[in-house]
Homo-oligomer: 142 residues x 4
């Protein structure tokens, strides 16, 4: 069973040799880069990402957590899943799970992301169209 | 009042221009690198870090959290404080706070670190000497 | 015509959003990371890479050059080709070319790599088997 | 004698543990980040850097070379010197030298940088005031 089946957005990232540190496995910082790429892939899918160039509505990362479950080594290709577990007025909680090429969970965690109106310098209430896009992608209502 | 006065280990890191991303402030991933540098500085102070080369006793990062409070821009020099708030049998919880050059808190968070015996492939109970070194550094008993 | 047809080893790397800097295109440093990944892929193909774990025969980067031809933006997938243009006694010159998803050359350059014997602390003359593997891969003699 | 005495702009960068790779010394990519930081420090000194926000006159990196002379390890603080060795119509060649904390040369190289007018999409001829600023900083005429 695919451990990412409940994650509607999944990206693949090949491990580069230089992602490894002196302990000869992928450095903890890289997982946070993968989370970032996964968040952005999700934002693209719900039409939020393109709003920055159009209307200066962007995303701000409020917090992140990451649980490191297993080391990752070069060479490998990791898959990173994202799903939204909570929608607030101007923020969402996104959950991430990272699998290695063998399908083992190597990390999980979450990000809290705030939608932000850079024109007015304040959080931006999620539009109904954004909520609908998330619900459709997640296959559930919030 | 120095917001890092309760953090016995503090490092300074100059922001490099290239730490910034397309939003023109320091990328979220860099904060995790700063946390890492701060953890290692602490481990050096209590004599844990050198054990890896000597006895293959090392540190494994189990989890991390980071709350992003304010953007950071180049040029600046951040200061990152570390303190231990909990000591378990083989693990510690370390708290971090990051200040910018103006003394504003730009991030805080924590790391859970497991002391690991790479020779035997299992967690390593913290030695009494390590506990004593932490207590002395923190100015309190655990 | 594929501009990488004369490059026997080609890797693909997806651009991550966070590879971009404040100018909103991929930072110059990332190209050097791609070169590194390309070098290692080549070394794997000729059986040199595995020698480090087996015999402490490794590769040392002596120099690098990179000509930046065009900016690269997220999202994209770059392809990086490597070929060896010169074999010396203990070193090789490797040429790299990077294409974006449209097939445009975005960078080229080269690396000089020294084969090094870490046991004895000195350059290691390329074995005949290495030379043969390179000649076969390149389809020419040196 | 300070090996950087002929470099009018010098920056210091502390090595972070995470700058190291699996070979347990600083990864080759980090040197290119140091070069970047050094270039920008120079551009700030001659008043070019601020032109981007004001007039969309920016710098484009055309090429880079780096000769890796010695490994660098954590902990250390490197110093990176920059000087301009050639001024063309719209470009300059900048030379870099990197010293470790013991004063050994760990790398040298150069960058070719083009001054670029983003408003008109073309190279921007160096202003007389820029040439004068460089000459004064370098203590020689070009």
């Amino acid at each position: 069973m695919d451990k990412l089946k409940d994650y509607p957005v999944v990206i693949s990232v090949p491990v580069q040799w230089g992602d490894q540190d002196s302990f000869r496995h992928v450095n903890n910082v890289m997982y946070i880069r993968w989370f970032e790429s996964a968040r952005i892939a999700y934002a693209e899918r719900i039409g939020v990402w393109s709003l920055y160039d159009e209307e200066k509505i962007g995303l701000i990362l409020a917090s992140i957590t990451c649980n490191y479950r297993r080391p990752v080594n070069y060479p490998d290709i990791v898959r990173v899943g994202s799903r939204i577990s909570r929608i607030g007025r101007s923020s969402v909680t996104m959950e991430h799970k990272v699998l290695n090429g063998d399908g083992d969970v190597v990390a999980d965690g979450d990000s809290v992301v705030v939608v932000y109106d850079y024109n007015h310098g304040r959080p931006y209430p999620l539009r109904q169209s954004m909520r609908a896009a998330i619900s459709e992608l997640e296959g559930k209502s919030f």
